[in-house]
C-alpha cells in the first residue's frame, strides 16, 4: 500500500486543467473566452484516453483510500463521456445566452473529478469528498444564469436540500465508523460479517447513508427537489445532473450495497424494494401531466432511476451488469434528448413547452428524427438501446425472484409510453401553430446529437460488446 499517483491520473489531469483554466480567465481577452470550452473538452478527451489506457488496472492506491477495479474503470469512462458531451453542448449554449464562459468549464471539470473519485473510492470519507466536490460544483452551475430568478431558485433549492441530505449521509458514516472502527469499505464489510451488522448503530448508520443516497439519486419519496431543479438549471447542466451526477450516485450505491453491505441484504433490499416501486410509479404518473419538456424529462429520469434499482436489489453480478448496461444506454439517450432540447430552446430558453414542439417534424428533420430515436429508446422499443437495457435489467431481476417488482416496472413503463409518444405525435402529426422560425444547430451540438443517436442505435443492434464490458465490470 502506497501512494501510487498514477492510479488517479485522469482525475489529477482534470483537476490541474480546471485550475489552469481558472487562472486563464483573467488573462484571456473576453472575445477569446470561448476557447476555454474547447480547452475543457480537450482536457476531458485526454482524461478519457488515460482512463481507457488504465482499463484493466487493479489494486489499491493512496493508502487504501482509492481502489482500482473494473467497475471503477468502466464508471469513470462513462462519466468522462457524459461530461465531454455536456461540455460540447455548453459552448454554443453559453454563447447564445451571452453568459460568461469563464468559471463554467473549471466547475464542470471539478464536478467530473468528483464523480470519478466516487467511482474509484474505497473509503466512505473519500466517497463523501467526491460527492461534495461534485455537488458543490453542481450547485453553482445550476445557478449559472444569474440574471434569471428561476435559475437562482433552482440552485438554491438544490443547495439547501443537497446540504441537508449530505448531513444525513455524513451522520450515517459517523455511526458506521462507530460500529466498525473504520471507514474503509473493506473494514466495514469485515466488521459486518463479525456480528456488527446486527447492532442498532450499524443499521441506523446504513439507513441514514441510504437516505442521503436516496436524496442525491432522486428516489421517491426523496425526489421532490428534482423537477424544480432540473427545470430551472441551464439545459446542459440539467443534462449533467440527470446523467453524470445521477449515474455517479447510483454506481456508488451499487458498489456499497453489493460489496460492503451484503451482510445486511435483507434490510436494504426491503427498503429499496419500496423505494423502487414508489419511484417508478410516481415518476411515470407525474410525468403524464407535465407541459414543460425539461420537467417531463426530469420525471422521466426519476422513473428510470426506479428501473435501475431493480438491478441493485437483485444483489447479483447479473443485476450489476444490467445496471451498468442500462446506465450506458440511459446516458446516451438522455444526453441526446437534452442536446436536442438545448438547441431547440433557442435564446433565453423560450421554447421548452411541449406545445412548442407542435408540427416541427418535417421542418427540422435532424432534431425531430433524433429526438424520436431518443424517446423510443426511453420507452424501450427495439432496435434501440433502451430495449436491451430494460431486457437485461428485468431478466436479472426475475432471476433474483423479484417477479412482482418486474411486473410493476413493466406496467409503469406502459404508462411512460403515453407521455413519450405524445411528444412524438405532437412533432409529426399536428399542424404547427406559429409560422416557422429558424433553429440554428451549431456544429458541436450537431455532432453530439448525431453521436448519441448513433450510440443509441448501436447499443440497440449490437449490445454484445458493451454488455461484455458491463459484465467484466460487474465481476461476471
Amino acid at each position: 500500500m502506497d501512494l501510487n499517483y498514477a492510479a488517479l491520473l485522469p482525475e489529477i489531469l482534470l483537476a490541474v486543467a480546471g485550475i489552469l483554466l481558472m487562472l486563464a480567465i483573467p488573462v484571456l481577452p473576453s472575445r477569446q473566452q470561448v476557447r476555454l470550452g474547447y480547452a475543457a473538452s480537450l482536457a476531458l478527451a485526454a482524461a478519457l484516453v488515460t482512463a481507457l489506457l488504465q482499463w484493466g488496472d487493479h489494486g489499491p492506491a493512496f493508502f487504501g483510500m482509492v481502489s482500482m477495479d473494473a467497475l471503477g474503470g468502466a464508471a469513470r469512462i462513462l462519466f468522462l463521456v457524459s461530461s465531454a458531451a455536456v461540455a460540447l453542448i455548453s459552448v454554443s449554449y453559453l454563447k447564445r445566452e451571452r453568459l460568461r464562459h469563464g468559471e463554467y468549464f473549471p466547475l464542470l471539470l471539478m464536478a467530473t473529478v468528483g464523480m470519478s473519485l466516487m467511482a474509484v473510492s474505497a473509503d466512505l470519507i473519500m466517497t463523501f469528498l467526491g460527492l461534495e466536490i461534485l455537488s458543490i460544483s453542481s450547485y453553482v452551475l445550476a445557478g449559472y444564469r444569474r440574471g434569471d430568478p428561476r435559475s437562482n431558485e433552482s440552485a438554491l433549492k438544490y443547495f439547501l436540500l443537497g446540504a441537508f441530505s449530505t448531513a444525513f449521509m455524513l451522520y450515517g458514516i459517523a455511526l458506521l465508523y462507530g460500529a466498525a472502527g473504520s471507514t474503509k469499505y473493506a473494514g466495514i464489510a469485515e466488521a459486518a460479517t463479525q456480528g456488527q451488522a446486527e447492532t442498532a448503530t450499524f443499521l441506523l448508520g446504513l439507513g441514514l447513508l441510504l437516505v442521503g443516497f436516496g436524496f442525491k439519486a432522486a428516489l421517491a419519496p426523496l425526489h421532490v427537489w428534482t423537477p424544480d431543479v432540473y427545470q430551472g438549471a441551464p439545459v446542459p447542466i440539467t443534462a449533467h445532473l440527470a446523467v453524470g451526477s445521477k449515474a455517479a450516485v447510483l454506481i456508488t450505491l451499487l458498489r456499497l450495497l453489493h460489496q460492503v453491505f451484503p451482510a445486511s441484504a435483507d434490510q436494504w433490499q426491503t427498503l429499496l424494494w419500496i423505494a423502487s416501486a414508489a419511484t417508478m410509479i410516481i415518476g411515470n404518473v407525474a410525468a403524464l401531466t407535465q407541459t414543460d419538456v425539461k420537467r417531463l424529462l426530469a420525471y422521466s429520469s426519476i422513473a428510470h432511476a426506479g428501473y435501475i434499482l431493480l438491478g441493485v436489489i437483485a444483489n447479483s453480478p447479473r443485476g450489476a451488469q444490467g445496471v451498468l448496461f442500462y446506465l450506458a444506454a440511459y446516458s446516451l439517450m438522455t444526453l441526446g434528448a437534452f442536446a436536442v432540447v438545448q438547441v431547440f430552446a433557442r435564446r433565453e430558453e423560450r421554447f421548452t413547452k411541449l406545445e412548442d414542439f407542435r408540427g416541427i417534424g418535417y421542418r427540422h428533420p435532424l432534431l425531430s428524427v433524433s429526438l424520436t430515436i431518443f424517446l423510443l429508446s426511453l420507452i424501450g422499443i427495439p432496435p434501440t438501446a433502451g430495449f436491451y437495457g430494460k431486457l437485461f435489467l428485468f431478466s436479472a431481476a426475475v432471476e433474483a425472484d423479484l417477479v412482482a417488482l418486474v411486473i410493476l416496472a413493466v406496467l409503469a413503463s406502459a404508462v411512460g409510453l403515453y407521455y413519450y409518444l405524445q411528444l412524438i405525435v405532437l412533432m409529426f402529426m399536428k399542424e404547427a401553430a406559429s409560422p416557422p422560425e429558424p433553429v440554428p444547430v451549431p456544429l458541436a451540438a450537431r455532432i453530439v446529437i448525431l453521436l448519441m443517436a448513433a450510440g443509441t442505435l448501436y447499443l440497440g443492434v449490437y449490445p454484445a460488446q458493451v454488455l461484455s464490458i458491463a459484465g467484466e465490470a460487474a465481476g461476471l
Binding site: Y139, L156, K157, F159, A167, I173, A174, Y177, G181
Partner: protein
C-alpha cells in the same frame, strides 16, 4: 478527575442533529435553514470525535477537518445563492422561491 463517558457526547450529538433537522423543516428563513444544516454537520463532528475516543484512533480527527473544509466551501456557495434570492425577491423567505411549478 472522572472522564465524561463517550455515550454522553454521542447523546448530545444525536440531540443536536435532531434539533438541526427540526430547524430545517420548521423554519422558513433561508439563513436559519442553512444554520440548521451547519448544526447537523457539527453534530456529526461531535459524533466522530466521541467515536475517535472509544476506538482510540486519530483517523476520525482528520475526518472532522475534512467535514469542516467541506462545510466552509458549502457556506461560500450557499451564501452567494442566498444573496441571489435576496436580490431577485427582496426577501429571505424560502416560500418566495415559487417560480418553478409543474
Amino acid at each position: 478527575m472522572g472522564m465524561v463517558p463517550a455515550t454522553h457526547y454521542l447523546a448530545l450529538g444525536a440531540v443536536l442533529f435532531v434539533i438541526g433537522v427540526a430547524g430545517f423543516i420548521v423554519r422558513r428563513n433561508v439563513i436559519t435553514m442553512f444554520m440548521s444544516v451547519e448544526l447537523m454537520l457539527n453534530a456529526v463532528n461531535l459524533t466522530f470525535l466521541a467515536y475517535a475516543r472509544t476506538w482510540n484512533q486519530v483517523d476520525a480527527h482528520i475526518f472532522v477537518f475534512f467535514v469542516m473544509t467541506v462545510a466552509a466551501a458549502e457556506a461560500a456557495v450557499g451564501l452567494a445563492l442566498i444573496l441571489g434570492l435576496d436580490r431577485h425577491s427582496q426577501t429571505l423567505d424560502i416560500d418566495s422561491a415559487d417560480k418553478l411549478q409543474g
